[in-house]
């Protein structure tokens, strides 16, 4: 368990009786960059807030750095090793950029002055500028600086590139990838931008309606899954949905699109027994995986 920076077991959370999380089991290995995907309202922010003890679970367990987070003391100790970027990216309106940095610095003994100076320069953040006068993108950059410079072992980022222009987004993604590669920093970040996740993440976790529907290494997922397109002479038979190894099926007239995992050759053999006119096999993208899982129901 010590090789996992984040581990949850059976995490449940409801709001006014309406379930937001229905038994989340997460496992994020140390040093990995894990993209946390899901539609709006799927439970991403709730999960992140539970990890930081801003919310309390109805049931289940949370382990950070191998230790249970079951008390305020444990949560404080864990937060000392975590950098967090909130979805709102709001900071104190009565401070300037420089004051915000000077306020945050003493809470983290491992604060990295070199990273602070580096990101101030990269993000072009003027230290004397009051926070309310920063654009949304600049506020996001300041929050990222505060998270990255604290020398954290784990970064928990809620939509970190939201509001950033493409150039700065690229800088941020490179910074995250660089920290993971050089410092061994683990990154757990939620995002709607699948291309960003594909660019830097080595693991992906997809949550839908409060449940984890995909969790694994991105390369494994891509290797393991295939899109099989079948074209029949008449309407696609209902039997395609019952093929073993098939996660999702979409049929339209004569065509059936299958998302298969595991031994796709065996699945292909079984599909051929249904005597389609043509069979095509394609690798899948993260976007396809995402859409196939969240478009159901």
């Amino acid at each position: 368990m010590n090789d996992l920076v984040i581990r949850t077991r059976g995490l449940r959370k409801s709001y006014d009786g309406s379930p937001a999380l229905r038994g989340i089991d997460l496992a994020v290995p140390r040093g990995s960059i894990c993209g946390f995907l899901g539609r709006n309202g799927a439970g991403k922010t709730t999960t992140l807030k539970l990890l930081l003890n801003l919310l309390r679970p109805d049931a289940g367990e949370i382990f950070l750095f191998g230790d249970p987070v079951d008390s305020e003391t444990a949560a404080v100790a864990a937060r000392r090793r975590i950098g967090f970027v909130t979805e709102e990216k709001q900071l104190y309106p009565f401070m300037t950029v420089g004051q915000t940095i000077r306020f945050t610095r003493p809470f983290f003994p491992g604060w990295r002055r070199d990273l602070e100076a580096r990101y101030l320069k990269i993000f072009h953040l003027p230290e004397s500028k009051p926070v309310p006068k920063l654009s949304k993108g600049m506020r996001a950059q300041l929050m990222l600086l505060l998270a990255l410079a604290r020398g954290a072992e784990l970064l928990i980022l809620d939509e970190p590139t939201d509001g950033l222009d493409p150039a700065v987004t690229e800088e941020v993604l490179q910074a995250l990838a660089g920290l993971a590669a050089t410092e061994g920093t683990s990154v757990f970040f939620s995002s709607h931008h699948l291309a960003e996740v594909e660019q830097i993440a080595d693991r992906v976790c997809l949550i839908d309606r409060g449940q984890i529907v995909i969790d694994g290494a991105l390369d494994d997922l891509k290797t393991d899954c295939r899109r099989i397109l079948l074209v029949f002479s008449g309407d696609a038979p209902a039997a395609v949905a019952a093929l073993a190894g098939v996660d999702h099926v979409r049929t339209r007239g004569r065509t059936a699109s299958l998302l298969a995992h595991g031994d796709t050759d065996a699945t292909l053999d079984r599909a051929r027994e249904l005597q389609p006119e043509s069979v095509e096999v394609h690798p899948v993208t993260l976007k396809e995986l995402f859409l196939d899982h969240v478009k159901e129901a």
Partner: protein, 224 residues
């Protein structure tokens, strides 16, 4: 650094309140109000402003964190505060402590000239001001408690409503002697020639402690 943040957060409120007292003095001095009326008005106005000052300086804090003005909702920066490696009780203690010190400083700075002006000696003036500080903590603690459960606007409205209710409850004789607001009334001294406020001090301290205890319990359980 939490003390510094609390100061940054409240300094303009404190400046506003100091300006209010300066205006009160200027009003009296510039317009030549008769001394007797001036004293009576001062005492009432000061008592009212001390109560309001306490509720305002208890404002901002964990939920809203705005320097000035009222807002109906919560300010998003509270998530940043709560993500720091600091226990919620410490966050509350520092914020509440800073505001309480400011409230007491305001009362001391503005109260001593007032009671000297009313003709009290130094020892009586010190006692009155100390009592006003103790009693202002009730208003402060009510406001701090409400800051844990409501947005900033309702925190202020609620605190002022509670102060109004305390004022009305003074008409109920059995409890009047414990009413924290009695500690503000200098007229009680001039009528009785002594300070009949010990009961009010005890009542105030108990009520403030109860509010703070409740606030801490709420913060321990609150979800953000």
């Amino acid at each position: 650094m939490l003390w510094w943040k609390a100061w940054m957060e409240t300094r303009w409120r404190l400046a506003f309140l100091v300006a209010c007292f300066a205006l009160l003095w200027a009003e009296g001095l510039l317009f030549g109000v008769p001394l007797v009326r001036l004293r009576a008005a001062f005492i009432l106005q000061y008592a009212a402003i001390w109560g309001i000052a306490a509720t305002m300086l208890a404002g901002a804090g964990l939920n809203s964190q705005t320097t000035w003005g009222t807002s109906t909702g919560y300010h998003g920066s509270m998530l940043f505060t709560l993500s720091l490696p600091v226990a919620r009780r410490k966050l509350f203690a520092v914020r509440a402590g800073a505001g309480a010190v400011e409230t007491c400083a305001l009362i001391v700075i503005t109260g001593v000239p007032l009671v000297r002006f009313a003709g009290l000696g130094w020892s009586a003036a010190s006692l009155y001001v100390a009592g006003a500080c103790v009693c202002s903590m009730t208003a402060y603690a009510i406001s701090a408690l409400l800051a844990c459960v409501t947005g900033e606007m309702w925190q202020l409205y609620g605190s002022w409503g509670a102060l109004g209710a305390l004022g009305l409850s003074m008409r109920y004789a059995p409890l009047a002697r414990f009413n924290p607001l009695r500690g503000f009334f200098l007229s009680a001294y001039t009528a009785a020639a002594h300070f009949p406020w010990l009961d009010a001090w005890i009542g105030s301290a108990l009520l403030a402690a109860l509010c703070c205890f409740t606030a801490v319990r709420i913060l321990d359980r609150k979800e953000y």
